[in-house]
């Protein structure tokens, strides 16, 4: 079907989008007020090339008078869409980034495309999309102490595999939806990309509607699959049985209980990204870091997802706890996740990360290993200098 997106997202690759757009010979995008442009992937500029790309994007933003522009230091595009309440329930969001699915956390149908495809949307206001089949995943029960939405996501990635949700929409339900915050829902929808999902959706409910209190909701509203709709698959998962998970190396689906890898030395521990760089992630880490020190031989890097997360974490004393423990706070943005800067690994090194991808070479070195885990597991591992079950440190708080 031909669809008209409500919101159109791009980051540094806006440069590529605009390059393709110019080739179309059209003067202005069809609706500059629907465009969201964020500099987050390589911020502050890591190379002269990037600096020039940033400059060109700023010039273009002025030319088209794009109001929703977020410059260096404002944060990660997927987080800003939700935090600034730009994406709303029932909307169609397309973004030139695979993790655009994150906005499904607030009940938007959000899907990733490439830069040239986005240029087509800028030009015509339309995009061809096949209506996907839906995989229903019901998460029931309560998480065990020391476990988080990330552990569920890693469990699902292992259970369904890297193409287990290819071309499909993943819809989350079950009693866990009464427990989980918007931030936790973002983790689930974000990681659905690692199963190949076209979109992921937590149908808007009271939690999401509270999120939007005071926001103009005309033209949008909650959507969910019709009762009795035919699903391509239906999974019921008892989340109380999911332990703290660690996935890797090199494959997201290579996940298992943290116990499998406990004791493996880590030289870098990273908390941040569109998966797990929000306030509740930093708070969970701070429970473990408070009064403790990062182990010698290990570096802890923390990149708050947005300026607001950083600001709140400062107000709450969370940043102080991270710094006092020996951690390094990076500016809001994607940080070392994609291997461009701010924490590139050396050959033979191992990083435990709260991010979403552990592909070989992802953090800049093919002879390094990346393991994925929750922020709590990352923090516990930083304190111990080796992969560590967060429950060892969390018992007094829980």
């Amino acid at each position: 079907m031909e669809a008209a997106p409500d919101l159109v997202l791009s980051h540094e690759n806006t440069y590529l989008v605009n390059r393709s757009f110019k080739q179309l010979g059209i003067e202005r995008p069809w609706a500059p007020d629907r465009l969201v442009v964020v500099l987050d992937h390589r911020t502050p500029a890591n190379t002269l090339q990037t600096a020039m790309v940033h400059t060109e994007i700023r010039r273009m933003v002025r030319e088209f008078d794009i109001k929703n522009f977020f410059d260096v230091g404002e944060g990660i595009c997927h987080d800003l869409l939700v935090e600034k309440k730009l994406a709303k329930p029932g909307q169609l969001v397309v973004g030139a980034d695979s993790h655009t699915t994150t906005a499904g956390a607030v009940g938007a149908f959000a899907t990733g495309v490439g830069a040239t495809e986005l240029a087509g949307v800028w030009a015509t206001g339309k995009i061809w999309l096949k209506v996907p089949e839906t995989i229903q995943i019901d998460l029931n029960g309560h998480l065990s102490p020391g476990c988080f939405a990330k552990d569920i996501a890693l469990h699902l990635c292992s259970a369904l595999g890297p193409s287990g949700a290819d071309y499909k929409c993943v819809e989350f339900g079950g009693s866990y939806m009464f427990d989980v915050s918007v931030a936790g829902r973002m983790v689930l929808c974000n990681m659905a990309t690692e199963m190949g999902a076209k979109a992921a959706l937590v149908p808007a409910d009271s939690t999401s509607m509270v999120w939007y209190s005071g926001v103009d909701m005309s033209g949008c509203g909650p959507v969910r699959s019709d009762p009795g709709a035919r699903m391509s698959a239906h999974h019921e998962i008892d989340i109380s049985k999911i332990p703290p998970m660690v996935s890797g190396p090199h494959r997201v689906e290579e996940g298992s209980s943290v116990e499998r890898l406990e004791g493996k030395p880590v030289q870098q521990a990273f908390i941040g990204t569109c998966t797990n760089g929000r306030l509740e992630d930093l708070v969970a880490a701070s429970w473990i870091l408070r009064g403790r020190k990062v182990a010698p031989g290990c570096r802890l890097l923390v990149a708050p997802a947005t300026r607001a997360v950083l600001s709140d974490a400062l107000d709450m004393g969370v940043v102080q706890m991270i710094v006092a423990a020996g951690g390094t706070v990076l500016p809001p943005g994607c940080g070392p996740c994609l291997g461009a800067h701010e924490g590139v690994l050396a050959p033979g090194e191992t990083c435990i990360s709260s991010s979403n991808r552990n592909f070989r070479g992802r953090m800049g070195c093919e002879d390094a290993e990346v393991y994925l885990a929750s922020p709590a597991t990352v923090a516990a591992s930083a304190v111990n200098g080796e992969v560590t079950d967060p429950r060892r440190y969390l018992h007094e708080e829980l």
């Binding site: 540094e12 690759n13 440069y15 590529l16 390059r19 393709s20 080739q23 179309l24 010979g25 059209i26 992937h41 390589r42 890591n46 190379t47 090339q49 990037t50 790309v53 030139a96 980034d97 695979s98 655009t100 990733g112 495309v113 490439g114 830069a115 040239t116 495809e117 240029a119 087509g120 030009a123 015509t124 061809w128 890297p162 193409s163 290819d166 071309y167 190949g196 076209k198 494959r251 994609l338 291997g339 461009a340 590139v344 991808r357 592909f359 070989r360 070479g361 992802r362 800049g364 093919e366």
Partner: protein
């Protein structure tokens, strides 16, 4: 006959976009830069030896991971005109079509052809044939809409043509 003839570069399953073009090279969009690092994370010998017309033959879920269009650009700028995979990750597939790269699906071709051999792909008929013509496989058909885009060489020329048509009434 629209076709390409070249050496087959055979890859495994789940080759991701970080392997096709690692993140550290994404700040430079020049075609020669992208081509010089194409498939660096999967086949170190590719960028130095690839020639125009060569064919990438991949397993399941080719191009999974990031939406980076540079992954397709790196292959196209290397002279690759066609990829045959058992299956594709969604965004990579769309990017391929949008940039005029013929992305065929076939499980049979993956079984029938080996790394290093020379083959010919008929881009319109959707077949792959060994150089000595002893083996030929019909490839999975490309959806109609995608074929239309490919006919124009990619999304940009396709949209330009569509807009021109609607202007001319």
């Amino acid at each position: 006959m629209k076709s390409c003839k070249g050496r087959i570069w055979k890859l495994g399953n789940d080759v991701n976009t970080d392997q096709i073009i690692p993140g550290r090279y994404l700040d430079n969009y020049s075609p020669s830069h992208l081509a010089s690092h194409a498939l660096e994370g999967a086949r170190k010998d590719f960028a130095g030896a690839v020639r125009a017309g060569d064919i990438v033959l991949a397993g399941r879920n080719f191009g999974c991971g990031s939406s980076r269009e540079q992954a397709v650009m790196a292959l196209v700028h290397s002279g690759v005109r066609s990829v045959v995979a058992q299956s594709y990750a969604r965004i990579f597939y769309r990017n391929a079509i949008n940039l005029g790269l013929y992305a065929f699906s076939s499980a049979e071709a993956y079984e029938s052809f080996e790394d290093g051999e020379v083959a010919v792909i008929d881009l319109e008929a959707g077949t792959i044939t060994s150089e000595d013509r002893t083996r030929a496989v019909r490839l999975g058909s490309i959806p109609e809409k995608a074929q239309e885009i490919l006919k124009y060489g990619g999304l940009v020329p396709y949209i330009k043509a569509t807009l021109a048509k609607s202007r001319d009434g």
